[in-house]
Symmetry: C2
Subunit: 698 residues, 2 copies
């Protein structure tokens, strides 16, 4: 057998090279006037300062966890005959953290360079500016998939053991949780504070340089949306691959097909990267084109290339075509889920319009209406995830054997995993589109603060609104993918816990108790990070008010008077670091407590519970938040009273409520449930042996 899985590291390297090419391409562009460079410099500095502090704080956490892993996993070091395995696992964990951090750093570094260059190029027209912004985003996208898959390949090449790759994945996830929660708290602290004092209290426009929080706000877009979101999808991507590898290796063990099933996900992931690279190269827009359409077209092209490439490969390598079928089902479900979230958040559709209309009767009705549509919006994606997994299951089961046999079930679960992978295969392009958003958001800010012409601001506005359109789809996609991934991870956990088929029967009170605790966790986690934002914003609002009060001439915009931007950046940074730890530690801690107290069954129920409620809240929060945002923008475009009307004020409050929903709590939930599932899988064997209930003989 040819080692076809080598397509994975090869395409990962290609991806990184194309990323570097884009990087060079962007950096050599003109970065604009001195004033623009100054602003961009301040943003870059703030972002780097945050990242540096965050990584330093995380280093301690990572070191502690690595030590614990060395001591306890896979088998407590005083009981194991192969202590080397413990070191391997800890090293894989460190490597995963490092790769995830590196991808975040790279993305952030290019994003803070692409913003001013795109703003400057906007002088020459949309097409030039768009190319810079998109390629800036693509650096991040390609770095994420390249680093992710290369890392997996390296660990697999060295150890050949998916169990060790689990450590790599855990490293990536734990870092992502911090990056996401920390970045999310940072960005919304700055955003809410800047809006509340600036827009609401003083009536000055967004991105106005008089506002002391304006730089912190721009920094926030980068650390939250670029670094955080990159780490998030890095994590789902790696987790989905490792979950399928674990399910595949179980199949290999059963059927004696050394490495055959284990390697399929690697091969498919390799082609996914190829498709994303080709897709990214096709994305472009004319001078008067529609950037939103261009981004979505890139997504569809990538999907088609991926489906065709993997079909040919499957045929050539004689993979069962039903495996390919499961992959494509996942991919299609991802696209459909993305489209439905577009429906709920697009300003051309009824939910946003009705919410904007409700603003006419006041803030409360705006919020109730937006929240209600957010509740509605969970229905299609949840059905999509459920149907995709049921189809994948039933499609692949018969490959193994007759219904109900162990072979059937293992093949069927492998199919669910492949569906998750299918959804995530094109993640390179998804991240590119998503990172494009904050870049153009910053471009707009720099153009405003740099005093560029109205025409340039109009171009940056157009790019910005395209970013929002693309974001709706990519966000739905990310949540859908996380949903299927965690279902695959649940299967992987089951595999790791028993080897044989364990059931998680809802009528078993231990499973039920676990599930009830599990469904509460995403709510508690969301509450913790949102209250963190609240506390942090409170501190920052006081500071902004103080500056307006104490710095003479600031409010009037007197020549030469400058706000103390650095102070606001500092408050956001410190606060975010302080607030992110408890929520993250609680997530991991409760998972371990449930496992070591209630045993394997409780933990299985618990994971299912977190998946259910995590998906529910992630969808609700992402969609309601996006919807409020666009309802506000719709009013600002002149409908329902337009800017400055009472309806507009109501919609601004709705948007502010939605901010921590869609940018702090909502997107962190994906990562939270992935981390919990990985922790459970890592500790599964240990928990099966040692847990309190068993100890008590219950």
């Amino acid at each position: 057998m040819i080692e076809t899985w080598l397509i994975a590291p090869i395409s990962a390297v290609i991806s990184i090279l194309v990323g570097l090419y884009f990087y060079r391409d962007v950096v050599k562009k003109d970065s604009g006037t001195k004033r623009m460079q100054e602003i961009a410099g301040a943003i870059e500095e703030g972002a780097n300062a945050f990242l540096k502090r965050e990584y330093m704080a995380l280093a301690i956490f990572v070191a502690i966890v690595a030590t614990l892993l060395t001591i306890f996993l896979p088998v407590p070091i005083w009981l194991t005959g192969t202590p080397f395995q413990n070191f391997q696992l800890a090293l894989a964990y460190l490597f995963g953290s490092f790769c995830s951090g590196l991808a975040g750093y790279l993305g952030l570094s290019i994003a803070t360079k692409a913003n001013t260059r795109a703003a400057n190029a906007a002088k020459e027209g949309l097409n030039k500016a768009f190319a810079i912004a998109f390629r800036g985003g693509a650096v991040m996208g390609l770095a994420v998939v390249g680093a992710g898959l290369l890392g997996i390949s390296v660990v697999y090449a060295i150890t050949g053991d998916p169990g060790i790759i689990l450590g790599y994945s855990f490293g990536a996830s734990a870092l992502a949780l911090f990056a996401k929660a920390g970045g999310g708290i940072y960005t919304k602290t700055a955003d809410i504070s800047a809006d509340l004092v600036g827009k609401v209290e003083l009536g000055i426009p967004e991105d106005d340089p008089r506002n002391p929080a304006v730089i912190a706000d721009n920094v926030g877009d980068n650390v939250g949306d670029v670094a955080g979101m990159g780490a998030d999808l890095f994590d789902s991507y790696v987790a989905s691959i490792v979950a399928v590898m674990i399910l595949g290796s179980a199949l290999d063990l059963l059927s004696g097909s050394a490495g055959f099933y284990t390697q399929i996900p690697l091969t498919f992931a390799g082609f996914g990267i190829v498709a994303a690279v080709l897709g990214a190269l096709t994305v472009r827009v004319g001078k008067h084109g529609n950037p939103g359409k261009a981004l979505n077209m890139g997504t569809y092209v990538t999907c088609i290339i991926f489906a065709v490439l993997t079909l040919i490969t499957s045929y050539y390598l004689q993979y069962d075509l039903r495996i390919w079928g499961a992959t494509v089902v996942g991919l299609a479900a991802g696209v459909i889920i993305g489209m439905t979230s577009d429906y709920f958040t697009s300003d051309a559709k009824s939910p946003v319009k009705k919410t904007a209309e409700a603003s006419l009767t006041g803030t409360a009705t705006n919020i109730i209406t937006g929240f209600s549509y957010g509740l509605h919006s969970v229905f299609p994606p949840l059905i999509g995830i459920g149907v995709a997994s049921a189809i994948a299951y039933m499609l692949c089961g018969p490959i193994g054997g007759p219904m109900g046999s162990v072979e059937y079930i293992k093949c069927a679960l492998f199919g669910i995993g492949m569906a998750a992978m299918g959804m995530l295969s094109i993640v390179g392009l998804i991240v590119s589109n998503d990172a494009y958003g904050p870049i153009v958001d910053n471009s707009r800010g720099i153009a405003m603060q740099g005093g560029l012409s109205d025409e340039v601001i109009r171009v940056t506005d157009e790019m910005d609104s395209a970013g929002n359109t693309a974001k709706a789809i990519t966000k739905g996609f990310a949540i859908g993918a996380a949903g299927l991934t965690v279902i695959a991870l649940l299967a992987a956990y089951q595999e790791r816990a028993g080897g044989t088929i364990i059931t998680f029967d809802l009528m078993n009170p231990l499973v039920l108790l676990g599930a009830l605790i599990g469904i509460a966790m995403p709510a508690v986690f969301s509450a913790m990070v949102m209250l963190g934002v609240g506390r942090n914003a409170f501190r920052m609002i006081e500071e902004i008010r103080r500056q307006f009060r104490e710095i003479p001439g600031l409010r009037e915009g007197k020549e030469g008077v400058k706000a103390d931007y650095a102070k606001c950046v500092d408050i956001a940074t410190k606060g975010a670091l302080k607030e992110l730890m408890p929520a993250s530690v609680v997530s991991i801690g409760v998972t371990l407590i449930v496992g070591f107290v209630g045993g394997i069954q409780s933990l299985g129920g618990y994971l299912a519970g977190t998946i259910f409620s995590g998906l529910l809240f992630a969808l609700l929060m992402a969609n309601a938040g996006g919807l409020w945002d666009n309802a506000k923008k719709l009013i600002e475009s002149g409908e329902y009273g337009g800017k400055g009307s009472e309806a507009h004020k109501a919609a601004v409050v709705g948007d502010t409520v939605g901010d921590p929903f869609k940018d702090t709590a909502g997107p962190s939930l994906n990562t939270m449930i992935t981390v919990m599932s990985l922790v459970a899988s890592l500790f599964a064997a240990l928990i099966a042996q040692y847990n309190l209930l068993q100890f008590l003989g219950l």
Copy 2:
């Protein structure tokens, strides 16, 4: 064996007699000045008009369902050898609807009489007024448990078949769903509209007679909180008893102990009523006492009486004491859950204080903070429900046989049912306390509108705030009880579906798909009723504005100028009826679709999903809503800027957002999940035989 279960109908009759005694006691009191009688008359008229229209609309629905039941259940009439059973089931269904409707009507009828009498008695002091208000509420409480248990007893005496009682329970639940959703939409339509135009736009106080919506608002308190809530708890109460009877009859079948286990829940329920009657008789307050404490003390006294009575009975009748243990565990869990919801909604505790404080930085932070604490608040009750069911399971399992045996499992599930019953045993008093709330709320309104002295208004205020304190506990109690009840119903469904032990394994894709659809349903249902409130409020706000615009002298409060109250009552009534149908029909419809397409396993997963997400949202919405309400009241008491400050305005918006959460969507969810579970149990046998997947051979 003595027919000990006869304690059930006997105590039910006692309960109804005591209720009648209270009724007479209240009605013979002086109903106050002519103006007060006028207002009370308008409220009574509005409430009756609503109920009449609602019941007429429901009659059609009930008739259709009864026909369908006759045709299809328990076995399609063209296939059955015992068509009489079909008629029995349909009759039981009609009887259940009738009893539930009657209890609602009785409660409403006394509540609209007690309000003005309590307001009038407030002239003579707190103790007199309190006695009237509490006894008014107790009429409702005793009617609910009396009618519920008497109905069950009658059906059981005639048929001896818990399967037919299921029909009775379904009748009660379906009616409760409509009453709850319809009343909830009505009350919040009126409340929001009255507040938004009155308090926010025009700055006139609550319950001001100039406001055209003021009567509709008072009517709303009655149809939402009294009639709706009574129907809700009637439904949980009956459902919990029937669930345990079904589980008990399975045990009886297994162990050949004719009727022994089936009758235990009836006996216990009988003593529960005795405890509630005795408890209600002890509730009183001194001239300067604390009415809130008096209400809670009544609850504790009832709990203790119940525990002692059932312990003695168990000993005397030689019931296994572990069954009693499970009951008491459920009861204790109910009290603890009630206390935690008190923590999250009491203005003496941190969550309300922090939310009030957050209002200082604006509306958005008020809402984010309140919502976050609402999210936090789901944790303790979910754990409470989980732990109570696990303990009850493990306590009662060993009665049956060794762990893992069919006998063990059936006894264990019976134990969970008894825990649910334990929680609901004291429901007579819970409903009394809860119905007290809207009565005193109305008293306050009548005192305001009737121009009574400040001292009288202060007394009614004090009674009102005690109502809110008691409400927090009773609401937590109601949700906890519903949680355990639906878990018992899930077991009953399992029993009805297979007879043998069916598992609902989360790794079975059909169960998973069902669960994913199930967790979406409470969200969709909430969205539908809340959007209904929004649409309805929109119409009403326009009408209130129109009246203020077009009726000369209304705004200034000119002597002799009256608002057109009836028009507002009419809008609320029509709107509520129009909006309640779709949500209710969807709930029942989707349940049947999932069952007849996906089969027994999918439906099991679906029910579990609805329970998980239903509890989550019910707790979140009830607690966040209560918290916002009390944060507003805390500010109105003079803290954080006091009445009229910016913080107060922010808190008023938060309270308005919370209104449909806590009074429309949240409390309807209990009923929704109960109805779904009952539908599933009723159709279980039919679904097991006929479903699409089986037909397709999948």
